[in-house]
Subunit: 210 residues, 2 copies
DNA sequence: TGCATGAAGTTAGTGTTGCTAACATACAGA
DNA sequence: TCTGTATGTTAGCAACACTAACTTCATGCA
């Protein structure tokens, strides 16, 4: 398609596609998901309102691109977080959770888009794969901590519980349901406490949780 | 305003307001939040597209009414659930959680609206009160189980953790992130298992979780 | 009883949006 | 150089949120 070295001069101005995605991201963070319009994004990118349709079929398809980008960032952040701690440590799991929450707080608009987007990415195999990979980070860290294979049902269910907690905490936080008053413990404290509660303090010595 | 006994015959047709809220609820469940229009709701109610503005200032204001109704139902469901079990039992807490998840699965559109609605109900004292009351149900049940005052920090933080889990599980479920394959444990099993993990199996005998 | 008032409905109209069609431009390779 | 295609343009449609000005009708009050 484009040579990746870009930025011609004029009429065909570099790569609009990336600029549109960036514009949409900006608008989504400013006015919330669904609170943006293709027209606004076009104006931000300095093109006509019809130009985006040369790159995207639909409004949902633009959002899909934004979401896909977001998933990539989230995945990287989680992997990076886990990598900072020893394999099999509780801290590694906490780091994955913290990366998740931090992403939600940093880009609440995109985060909301990634989930709670009713239409669009139901059938998108692309996104489902990325989702599985991301969850796989948690599964892997949990399996290592519990000293069980990642395929173990116990590992899967516990990892899912951790995901539930972290997901809920993220949403409640960005929705302002949880006042971040100065007395409150920070996210790391929360995440590790829940990790201990769900996984047990000792590593792989307990009975299955279910 | 209106005598609550209603349904005159004609031009001023009973109470449009309630009918509009019902129509919006229906549309929201059908096409997702933001996937409805005042015009459609008007058509469903059999009035002109300008009529709603005699009852609601705004599109957000209609959604607000729908959300407010939803909060009432959620609150009642949770109270009813808790009431079915002995005060201070783990089952009572689980029942509150189950009611939450069940509500989300039954009315996913309204549920999504209640949270993740960026605009609107930030400043609405009305909704914030209802939210606090609803969370209060969990706090109360948790306090009873742990044998501590509801004002206790430990109770508050644990109850919040439970809320996080249940909230996350609700969203992940209605977003289809969790395949409900037949082997999987049901919501009750999940909720009680997490309750044990966060609150401890024994009642009020442990150290604070944080 | 008769009448003014105002709540609750109407039609008509404005500006924005999503999207399409038809046309214009410039970069590519032949 | 010439031509095709990717990428941009303008023009236009239908749907929407919302407003303004008019109509209807129920009710309180003389």
């Amino acid at each position: 398609m484009h040579p990746p070295t870009v930025s011609k001069t004029a009429y065909h101005h570099g790569d609009l596609r990336a600029q549109l995605v960036a514009a949409v991201r900006e608008l989504v963070e400013l006015h919330g998901p669904e609170g943006f319009s293709i027209a606004q994004a076009s104006r931000l990118a300095g093109v006509s309102t019809a130009a985006p349709y040369k790159h995207f079929k639909d409004k949902p398809e633009i959002l899909l691109a934004v979401v896909s980008d977001g998933m990539d960032r989230l995945y990287r952040n989680m992997v990076d977080g886990v990598a900072r701690y020893p394999l099999g440590s509780l801290d590694a799991i906490s780091a994955a959770g913290l990366a998740y929450v931090t992403f939600a707080k940093t880009e609440p608009g995109v985060f909301r888009l990634m989930f709670g987007l009713t239409d669009g990415h139901e059938g998108k195999a692309d996104l489902e794969t990325k989702g599985r990979e991301t969850f796989g980070v948690v599964i892997g860290a949990t399996a290592a901590y519990l000293n069980q294979p990642a395929s173990s049902v116990d590992v899967q269910e516990r990892a899912y519980m951790l995901w539930c907690f972290v997901h809920g905490h993220s949403f409640l936080t960005i929705d302002g349901k949880r006042k971040d008053t100065p007395g409150r413990p920070d996210d790391w404290t929360y995440v590790t406490a829940v990790g201990r509660g769900i996984l047990g303090a000792g590593g792989g010595t307990g009975a299955p949780i279910l």
